[in-house]
Symmetry: C2
Subunit: 324 residues, 2 copies
């Protein structure tokens, strides 16, 4: 029910993900009426491997996490997360384009967190020259302590090791300069901790531009900074796409029909939606956050990320890492 | 002498700025030998309106501000800033692509700051749909208090009023969400102060993407966040330019000669160098920071920004605003 468009996007996305992945099953939590309205008219019953669990209520995008947790038991988000718990074991991963704060609060409440982890973190892969840089935290925590930054580095390492099959992924810490001694106490203390850890392949400080050069596998930062970074990048990518088409139309009108297809493909490539789907790390199960404005294809990507994390048993690997 | 290329860039940039602006004079501070090496061979003496003041030393890019201040009296940067002081009044504005921390420390020491201003801030205009959004602080202060954010808003307002001739520029505060109550104490307290100020046209919180939509005139943020934002944007712009040319070459090779010119022009347009030149606000005089990797054209832009601020008497306007 979440995101800017609710079932109009999430239902077609689910069908798309089912079609592309023969080995997954999807359960939709939400208003059965609304869901059925967007299911293909011809289908008398839901397609195979798709089930619907009707929920009367849903959590508003701007609802406070505390209120969501208190009144939320009958909401689609609460029940979707609940389907992952030990008592039900109905599902193995949950995806939502809804209220991220509420998602985190319900996730912590119902699924619990790994030992030695203070707060969950949001992690996603950004486009880069070699498409390999994962960044966390992207907005779960806006006052990260050195210890929390250190925990992000650990979680990011396990994630990249699992999803990218890299043995010792390189971790860097985002700072205002790459020289030692740069930055405030928080990053300097976090750097000390990371340097001292045998589990991490810590390579030092990087700056904002390094997120897009693909020089390191993981960039760790506070959620306020990460959130600004990802949103600014989305804003700039959109600005550039728009400028590209306008400029092209002005100066190369005769070639526009020929290269319009190219430009369209290119814009899709830099579209943040292509990288939709961010992992909510730290919870005892797989949870993936989708961008609220994602289209069906982008939401399907988020579903596929969740399926992939679940198949590769990322939660188990994280849990054994932190429970050592 | 500063930046990645020293006089090889700054000298041609100075000649470019002189040619484009009949009403400015430029004094170069640095190694006379090195400067003369890059002056046009045919010129027996420096071009008109250009003078050279030889300095034996210069400040290294990675030198600590405290050391620069202590040992720096004979350096090009120190003497350039000194040329603006009451005792000399040789120059009216200073531009450097050198060590920003040293530039700030020497600036504070020699020029002094406005009353009621705790720390200088770095302010620049970013590309946006209508090219109007100025952002500060871009990295001068990485632990801004609510009071400092409030001061940035004041300084940004005077700058935009002066340079863009806008009576009541709209100021927004960067946050992780636009709803009231979002963010940490620092931004919430700063928002309260801005809301209560009759001098500010405060419009509320904005998110990272709003920096590039041009919806507000001024975006205020802490320097750690602003520094990451601007560097990440530069990284993404370069990534996109590179991808654009590679993709074009792969898929549209036959049209490449036709549209290569267009792509080149487009890439130049999104090049951060085009927006080179950031104002160091808070000092009792005009000081402009250039990107270390700026080319001659970009450094000339920084010189022109300094000339413009000086002609429009921005320091005087700032000083009378804060001394009210």
């Amino acid at each position: 029910m979440g995101g800017d468009f609710g079932p109009r996007i999430t239902v077609p996305a689910a069908l798309m993900a089912l079609e592309r992945n023969a080995d997954i099953e999807i359960t939709l939590f939400g208003s059965e009426d609304e869901i059925r309205k967007v299911l293909p008219q011809t289908a008398a019953k839901p397609p195979e491997r798709l089930s619907i669990i009707h929920c009367d209520e849903s959590i508003a995008m701007d609802e406070k996490p505390s209120s969501a947790l208190k009144r939320g038991k009958q909401t689609s988000l609460f029940r979707a997360v609940e389907s992952l718990t030990q008592s039900t074991r109905l599902c193995k991963a949950v995806v939502s384009a809804g209220n991220t704060g509420a998602f985190m609060a319900i996730g912590k409440h119902l699924l619990g967190m790994f030992h030695h982890i203070d707060r969950p973190a949001i992690c996603a892969r950004l486009p880069s020259a070699n498409e390999r840089t994962w960044v966390l935290d992207l907005g779960a925590n806006i006052d990260s302590t050195p210890e929390m930054l250190y925990q992000y580095a650990q979680m990011g390492t396990v994630l990249v090791r699992t999803l990218e099959n890299l043995d010792r992924p390189e971790v860097a810490l985002l700072n205002v300069g790459s020289e030692q001694g740069k930055g405030h106490d928080t990053v300097r203390l976090a750097a000390e901790k990371m340097k001292a850890s045998a589990q991490l392949n810590y390579v030092g400080f990087v700056e904002g531009n390094d997120v897009f050069t693909g020089n390191v596998d993981i960039v760790v930062c506070d959620g306020f900074v990460g959130n600004t970074l990802i949103k600014a990048s989305q804003g700039l990518a959109r600005l550039i796409s728009g400028m590209l088409l306008t400029d092209l139309d002005k100066t190369q009108r005769e070639y526009m029909p020929v290269i319009a297809g190219f430009v369209e493909a290119f814009c899709a490539q830099i579209d943040p939606c292509r990288y939709n789907g961010a992992s909510l790390l730290g919870l005892n199960s797989t949870a993936v956050v989708s961008h609220g404005s994602a289209n069906a294809n982008a939401f399907a990507h988020a579903i596929e990320l969740a399926a992939c994390e679940s198949k590769l048993e990322l939660p188990l690997k994280l849990s054994s890492h932190f429970n050592q």
